[in-house]
Symmetry: C2
Subunit: 389 residues, 2 copies
């Protein structure tokens, strides 16, 4: 491999939280709170993936688009449909993207609409088991299944229990949303008499390599629980502003021993490339540290020592995310797969500018992470194979 | 003019706050608070523009780059140098960008370094007057001068007074930073026994068409003052996270009758294109509304009714900004200059995707604003003349 001067090689990006079927609504519909956004915009769109032809069209745009942005590993929520989910796994295999692909299980009579749900809890567990087999049968070393209860409000106790048993029986990873918003947290307390993460743990869903998306509202005790179980967090900084009512405290979580990676949360987050998400992660950490309301005194406004820098954000987007899901990627070193991204800092009209005598390596790195767009990413490799040229 | 299907025509973007000489450090050095960032990173870089050759090199990259991003009107802080400032005005004229160009006045013995300041207050006023003449002498109908005291901590009373008199004598617009951070506000109170905006007003610098950058910490009374004077605000949402210690309340300001536009704040903000800044403006307004600290109860966390939507953000970036500086742009309508941007929503590998049967005009608009990059902007016009093809 020859890299021209002005081109930087970096580890491939690990996006821990993507809703694949929401790709067509990326950049729209962020005006409603989570629980209404789901019913008004998102469930109707996801229901369309019963049409496997529609699904195939979207997947064949989504997967190469994310590869072109440098997302070499993608952790996907698919739709509720078995066939569309298998098609997503096949698309990842065909385009060469490393991926965890999960059929979304959801059966709650009020938390989901009648026209988009598993008919019963046992049907949901059976379809999830069938999806594990179907994704595995795709036969790609890059693609694995993941057990995916949508979130507690969308699942009955019987479904959550059954999926916990499925995880125990198969050893397959789990992903779900956790303690995302005030509404979500209040809902869990009302229904379970326990917080959302404690309820997930009771159902056997907080396990090593479990991806807990968002988790903004975890208390110190709940962080200790997640750390003890070996579950990690997909921090989705941009969605923090739209749905979470608060910012996830990355530094608190890391200090508590919780694994943390980054997620774009397509389409709750309107920045699909994970380099942009790194900039957002730094930005929201600064807002958490300093606070937002100028009418409050500085000491009342924020949460001291919350900021992270660009290096930490990039570490979360690569090695941190890889550790959460225990895949041998996220660093360019012997013993790991060669998942990598080449970024041109000298493209005419490109987003990155380096200036002789001004930019050392550290500044060049920060510019690439903060400014590069998909058009500045010249090459991408997954498992040593070129997937963008 | 023929526009292909899949191409959207929008008014050109009006960026109310750009530090032109900071272009080479875009995307770096956001780890320090404002007052240290200036001395450690920014003043040393700006001092280099004593070398007019260096300045010309930067301007010839900056101006076409911003035009390519759709910034048809730019309000520039130049450096402290007369020649570099004139060269910036010439670069705008040559590349066809509508611009206000201001030589930065700064003379404070402790607020600026000895190696980068006006030697005396009267020298600063004289150089500012000379810069007005030099920028005017460039002879472009697109380019006008603007009187530019950096901010109160960088200027002696004599300089601020002299520039207020210069503004009164010439009718030339004024721009400065106002009430940006806790430190800035505290400094003004200590020095003037009055808040920063009240001090600016006493020096005759808060006038019709004055651009007050940031202004995050304005009280209701100070907003009424700005509205009464006809001064407007350059809201720089991304910098709010890094330097301001708080978020500017756009809706409060608009309700108080203050004119508001958007600024990228290059390089305090690391997103140079104003479409991206629209997304940031929506995002930070949501964080102001909901708050950031999950340990607080929801009612204590944020400032209700602070959110703005994408349409409002785009309005600020176009018509809102144009109104602040009273230029006949910002809308495509008879009686205004044709400053416009064409965005392709169908570029192969582009950032915007429209889906048949899913995306109506309102959704297409939101996708373009939230997702388009410079590479998706196919054409740009200023005053009817094509400046990107």
């Amino acid at each position: 491999m020859d890299l021209a001067d002005g081109t930087f090689l970096m580890p491939g990006l690990v996006d821990l939280h993507i809703h694949a079927p929401q790709w067509p609504q990326l950049g729209t519909g962020l005006d409603l709170p989570l629980e209404r956004w789901l019913f008004d915009y998102t469930f109707p769109l996801e229901a369309r993936y019963a049409d496997t032809g529609f699904a195939a069209t979207v997947w064949d745009d989504l997967v190469p688009s994310l590869l072109a942005m440098g997302t070499t590993t993608a952790v996907y929520f698919s739709s509720n449909h078995l066939d569309a989910t298998t098609a997503l796994a096949r698309a990842c295999a065909r385009h060469g993207q490393r991926a965890l692909v999960g059929r979304v299980a959801m059966d709650h009579p009020t938390g989901t609409p009648e026209w988009y749900r598993d008919a019963t809890a046992s049907a949901g567990v059976e379809a999830s088991a069938a999806s594990i087999e179907a994704v595995t049968a795709v036969g790609s070393p890059l693609v694995e299944p993941v057990i995916t209860p949508r979130f507690t409000p969308a699942c009955t106790d019987a479904l959550l229990e059954g999926l916990g048993e499925l995880a125990a029986a198969t050893g397959v990873r789990v992903q779900t949303h956790c303690a995302e918003s005030d509404w979500h947290c209040g809902y869990a307390l009302d229904r379970f008499g326990a917080s959302d993460p404690v309820a997930l743990d009771r159902f056997g869903l907080m396990l090593p390599r479990t991806v807990l998306a968002h988790s903004d509202h975890l208390t110190a005790g709940e962080m200790a629980l997640a750390a003890g179980r070996g579950a990690g967090v997909a921090h989705c900084p941009l969605s923090n502003a739209y749905f979470a009512n608060a910012v996830f405290g990355v530094r608190r979580a890391l200090a508590a021993g919780v694994g943390v990676g980054l997620g774009s949360d397509i389409a709750g987050g309107a920045r699909p490339g994970l380099l942009g998400v790194c900039q957002d992660a730094v930005t929201v950490s600064r807002m958490l540290e300093d606070g937002v309301d100028p009418a409050l005194g500085a000491p009342q406004r924020g949460v001291p020592e919350s900021r992270i820098d660009t290096v930490t954000a990039f570490w979360l987007a690569t090695a941190g995310g890889a550790a959460v899901i225990d895949l041998p990627v996220g660093l360019i070193e012997s013993g790991r797969a060669f998942d990598a991204v080449a970024v041109r800092a000298d493209r005419p009209g490109g987003a990155v500018r380096l200036w002789e005598g001004l930019d050392d390596d550290a500044r060049a790195f920060e510019k690439v992470v903060r400014l590069a767009t998909a058009d500045d990413i010249s090459r991408v490799w997954v498992d040593g194979k070129s997937v963008k040229q």
